[in-house]
Every structure is written in C-alpha cells, then in structure tokens.
C-alpha cells in the first residue's frame, strides 16, 4: 500500500515538473520577446540615463567619459551663472506658462463643442470626424500649412487682411500662431474623449434632475460635469503632459523663434525644443548634461502622470472596450444571481 502511494506521488511530482517546464516554456515563448524589448529599450535606458547624468559623457568616443558626480544636477538646480541653468529654466518657464494659458482653453472649447455634438444634430458623425481630423495630421504637415497661412509677405492671412504683419518674427504673435496650431491640431483627442463621456452619462440622471426642476445651465454644472469627471481628469492630465512635450509645432513654425536681442536666446524655446537643439548641436560631450536635464524634467512629468494614473485607476469608464467588459461582467453576475429572483417569483405565485 505504502509503496503504491510513493509511486503515484512520484508520478504526480514528475508530471508536475514536466507540466512546470511545459507551462513556463510557453510563458517564456509568449512573454519573452516583449520583456526583452521592454528591458532593453525601456528599463535599461532609465538606469543608463542616471549613470550618464553623473558623467561627462562623450557619445562619439566613450573612452573619454569622466565621472562628474552630481555636478550637473548642482549646476541645473543652483548655479545661475551657467548658461545651461538659465536657458533650461527659461525654456521651462516658457513651457509652463504656455501650458497654464492653453490647458483651460484646450479643455473648455472641446467641452463646449462636445456638448453641441452630443445633442446629435443632423450629420453629427460627419462633424465629429471633421473636427477630429486635424489632430491626426503629422505636425510637420500642419505646421507647413500654418507657415503658408501666416507668412509675412506671401502668407494668405496677411494678404486677406491687407497687412504685412511679421507673425512669426515677433515673440507675442509667434506664440499666438503656435497656440493656434496647438488648438487646431491638438484638442481633437480631448474632444473625442469628452464627447464619449457625455454620450455615456446615464439618461435617468437627467430625468431625475428635470423632475427636481433642474434644467439648463444648472443641469450642466450639477449633473453633466460631475458625471464626466473621469474624462475631465484624463483630459486635464494628458493635456498638461502633452504641452510639456511641445516640440514639433515650435520646431516647424519658429525653430526657437525670434531671438531675444539681449541674450540671444530664442523666445519661443520650449523645453523639448531646447533639449533637441542641444542634442543636435554637434557637441559630443554634452550628453551627460542633457541627460540630467531630461531626468529633472522626467521626475516632474512622472509625478503628474503618477497622479493621473492614481486618480484614474480602474475607472476608465465611457469606453466601448470597458463597456464590453462591464457587460460581460454583468452577464456573469446575472447568471450567478438568476436562481434567486426565480425562487422569489415562485414564492409570490404560491401566495
């Protein structure tokens, strides 16, 4: 008897071991390639970047690398005599100011348009498609179109107005054109997300509100806005992050823009444009500095993304995929709870 048990246990163990290799072999086969690329191109650069920021890193000749400790971070954070420090914070300031001005615009305008589209006028799907269209155009293409619109001598706008305004040659107007391009080619995503949210607001909420005598503007603030709070949060954070990555518009339209006559620094320089200009400047030993800048900015953006992920965890409502999932879950729950109402009905019938 005892022998038999041992044998079967051995067989079980052996088959388990076999199963283990079988299972993990397939896991490795399926997950392996992704993990490989993920480690090589996502995790490794992060740590490598931290190492780089502590070095005077020469990208052309790695044998010339020298350890610099935290001196680059020190320069960035406290030494205001260094040109890197001043230009970094100058372009940071530009970018932050730009984001502060544009974020409300880039959420409120799409919200208004989404409310209009959501009333489902005739052909609203066409409107939706047209309004979203500029957002998927390559930024260099839409930038080129805007150059032809806002050119000084031959631009269409100047000709139509009968003026010769140097739109892209003055700081204020250059920012204005950049903002226009960001709005034209940028808020389509917000518009789609918000209108999806509006579409999925529970109709019974509106009915309840109208029973309570709440209509018009009040209904908007008391019912609609709270109902689409998740979408508003997603929009808010993705917009802020997007504007901190503002690059293509600036590069194509002004390439850093009209230089400040006193300092020679481009007045429409954004942080991404500045980093790009450093990397393309042909200085091979600057990469440690750029890495330190990227990490400083990255910590900042990472915090914003972290807050967003925290606020929106498992609450991606208003989506077709999530709805399909929710429907599946509900179906499952229904199946589980089906017998109960049936029994109750029987009981009622007996009474």
């Amino acid at each position: 008897m005892a022998r038999m048990t041992t044998a079967s246990e051995y067989a079980l163990k052996r088959s388990k071991r076999k199963q283990f290799f079988k299972n993990y072999g397939i896991v490795l086969l399926f997950l392996g390639p992704f993990i490989f690329f993920f480690l090589l191109f996502c995790v490794y650069p992060l740590f490598y970047g931290i190492v780089m920021s502590l070095m005077r890193y020469n990208i052309a000749d790695p044998s010339k690398n020298e350890w610099r400790g935290f001196s680059y971070f020190q320069t960035l954070l406290s030494n205001s005599n260094s040109i890197y420090n001043t230009e970094f914070w100058y372009s940071m300031k530009n970018t932050a100011l730009f984001a502060v001005i544009l974020v409300p615009l880039a959420i409120l305008v799409p919200l208004a348009i989404a409310v209009l589209v959501n009333s489902k006028p005739r052909g609203y799907k066409v409107f939706r498609a047209l309004i979203y269209f500029p957002s998927i155009l390559p930024v260099s293409a839409s930038g080129v179109i805007f150059i032809s619109l806002f050119g000084t001598n031959f631009g269409y706008i100047n000709q139509w107005l009968g003026q010769t305004i140097g739109w892209l040659d003055q700081t204020t107007t250059a920012w204005f054109v950049i903002i226009l391009l960001c709005l034209w080619g940028g808020w389509g995503g917000n518009f789609i997300i918000l209108s999806a949210g509006l579409k999925n607001v529970d109709k019974s909420l509106y009915e309840a509100a109208s029973v309570d005598g709440c209509t018009g503007i009040r209904r908007m603030f008391a019912v609609t806005l709270p109902a689409i709070k998740p979408q508003l949060i997603v929009c808010l954070f993705t917009t802020i992050i997007g504007y901190f990555g503002l690059y293509g518009q600036v590069y194509v339209l002004t390439n850093g823009g009209p230089a400040n006559p006193d300092t020679g620094v481009g007045t429409t320089a954004t942080i991404m444009w500045y980093l790009q200009s450093l990397m393309n400047s042909g200085q091979y030993d600057i990469y440690g500095m750029v890495s330190a800048m990227g990490l400083t900015l990255g910590v900042f953006i990472g915090c914003i993304t972290g807050i967003q992920l925290f606020l929106t965890r498992e609450r991606k409502s208003g989506t077709k995929l999530a709805r399909a999932f929710a429907a599946y879950k509900a179906e499952k729950a229904e199946k589980a709870s089906e017998p109960v109402p049936a029994v109750r009905e029987e009981a009622n019938g007996n009474e």
Partner: protein, 327 residues
C-alpha cells in the same frame, strides 16, 4: 482687407444673427403659448437646441477646414501665382502639378538632390514594420498575461504599468547612447526597435482580452489545442477590433513622429531620414519661392494618414474614446 474675407465675415454674422433672432422668436412665442401647432412650429419647439448646434457646428467646421483647404489648393498653385497674386485662393493661371514635380527634383543648398522618394519609402518601412512587430509581440505578451498562469504574473504586470509613469524625455539621451552602443544609431532599426518595448498598447490589448470568456479558452484547451493554436484560431478573430485600433495608433504614431528621428538620425545622411524630418527640413526655408513645394510636401505626408482616416475613422475615434490615447 480682401473682399473674400469681408464677404465671409458678413455671411457668418448674418447667419448667427438670423439664428439668434429665430431663437428669441421661438422662445418668446413659447412663453406666451402662441406657438402654433403646425409641423414647423412643433419641430422648432422640440429641436431648437439641436438646430442651433447644427448651424454653429456647420460654421465652425467651415472655419476649421480653412487650413486644409488652403493647404490643398496652395499645393496646386504655381510659383508665378504665389509671387504675383499672393492670397488668391483660386489662382488666375489655373492649377498645376508643378509643385509636386519640383518636390521630387529639389536640391539642397549644396546642390545635392533631396531623396524624397527614399524618405517616403523609409517612413513606410518604419511604420509598417513597427506596427506588425509590435502587434505580434504585444499580442502574445497580452495573451500570456490573461490566459496563462505563472508565478509573479501580477507583479510583472504592475511593474510594466508602473513604468508608464516614466516619460520618454527622461530616457531619450540614454536611448541615444544605447543605440550608439548597439551600433544601430544610423539605421532604420533605431526607429523601429525602441517602440517595441512600449507598455501602452500591451495594456490596451490586455484590457480587451480580459473581456474574452475564460471558459472558451478552457474548453479549447480541454479539446487539446495548443496555446499557439488557441491564440491564432480563437483569440485573434475575437480581438480583431482591438488589434486594428492599436495597429492604427502604432502606424500613425510612427508615421507622425518627428522628434526621435530628428535626434537619432542627425543631419549627415539625408537618405536615412523619414518623411517628417524631410518636410521639417524643407519647411526651414520660409521664402516665397518654396511655399508651393512646402505645401506639396505637407500634402504628400498627410495623404496616407488621410486615406487611413477615411476608411477607419470610426475605429480611430472609438479607440481614442476608449483609451484616452491622443495622437
């Protein structure tokens, strides 16, 4: 001020004014209960907001599309018209294809021809290869996360999700050095490979896979199907739509990317550039004698996206709504 603009402003103002007057009349009549019982009156009292929305959206869309119309028309306008009659939407000497021909025989300041057709080819290679590879790799990985069981599954997944917090800018320099160390910094691999480690698409595909009933997979497994067979025969057909959406995102992302190709490819070898880098380079000269060519290059780069959008705009819009990914 040109007559066209003036006329446009007048038309817009008139339409808006008419709409406001109509609103006031209808609302006023409704308050005094003098609105008739006819079909028009009933329609108006019921759909006033929708009518307003329609008119406003119509005007808005017309203004919204002005840049695109200008871009398309401008690309067919001759150099002569730009210099002598700037600002005319319909050029006096008719439309021509000259700009497109000139684009493909454009020389840079050193007298070297710009390999535009090579840029287009590069862009296509990068976009399609990235899309196909990423969908394959991420699809299998998502399958492993949803339908296979292994130790540390949740932890690995949470680590992946956590790295979404790290923005690209923090790792960009290191990525550059990484490419240089791998010896692929001056080839198209440098554009294709880094995006294969992206977590966003994996997350999207996994979310969709979660909606596929586990029972289906279990029963297939009991019937003796291998995991590969289940993936190809069951999961793939069910998850077609999410693969399409993610594929579109991948393709458009790779096609539209400007910063990374610029940084990694540099300016030395122009035959390596993608189309976006090339356009940004051509657009660098903002003089009049290149407006037409600039616009032609912009249209060339926008046409593939436009074609994709026309056929799949519903899917793209649903995908954006579902994921909050903005392209």
């Amino acid at each position: 001020m040109s007559k066209v603009l003036l006329a446009a402003i007048i038309v817009v103002c008139t339409v808006c004014f008419a709409m406001v007057v109509l609103d006031f009349v209808v609302v006023g009549l409704k308050k005094r209960k003098e609105l008739g019982e006819g079909r028009v009156a009933r329609y108006l009292s019921k759909n006033l907001f929708r009518l307003n929305a329609f008119v406003f959206l119509l005007l808005f869309c017309i203004v919204w599309l002005v840049p695109i119309v200008v871009g398309v028309i401008g690309s067919f306008t001759s150099q002569y018209a730009f210099e002598n009659h700037p600002g005319e939407l319909i050029p006096s000497d008719g439309f021509t294809f000259d700009n497109y021909i000139a684009l493909f025989s454009k020389y840079d300041t050193n007298g070297v021809r710009l390999p535009v057709e090579r840029w287009i080819l590069n862009s296509f290679i990068v976009s399609t290869v990235t899309t196909v590879l990423y969908l394959t790799i991420a699809g299998f990985a998502a399958y492993a996360f949803v339908f296979l069981r292994f130790r540390g599954q949740r932890i690995v997944f949470y680590v992946l999700i956590f790295t979404m917090v790290i923005p690209g800018v923090a790792t960009m320099t290191a990525q550059l050095a990484n490419m240089a160390n791998l010896g692929i910094s001056k080839s198209l691999f440098a554009l294709i490979l880094p995006s294969l480690g992206g977590v966003g698409g994996l997350y999207l595909i996994r979310q969709f896979f979660l909606g596929i009933p586990q029972d289906l997979i279990e029963s297939a497994r009991i019937d003796g199907s291998s995991n590969l067979r289940i993936f190809v025969k069951i999961v793939l057909p069910l998850a077609k739509s999410v693969f399409l959406v993610q594929g579109l995102f991948c393709f458009m992302g790779a096609w539209n990317d400007l910063l990374w190709p610029q940084v990694i490819l540099g300016t030395a070898d122009k035959s390596l550039w993608t189309l976006q880098v090339g356009i940004a380079y051509i657009a660098g000269s903002k003089t009049a004698n290149s407006i037409g060519i600039n616009l032609a290059s912009a249209i060339v780069s926008a046409v593939p996206i436009l074609i994709l959008y026309i056929f799949t705009q519903n899917k793209i819009i649903e995908g954006v709504a579902a994921t909050g990914v903005k392209r």
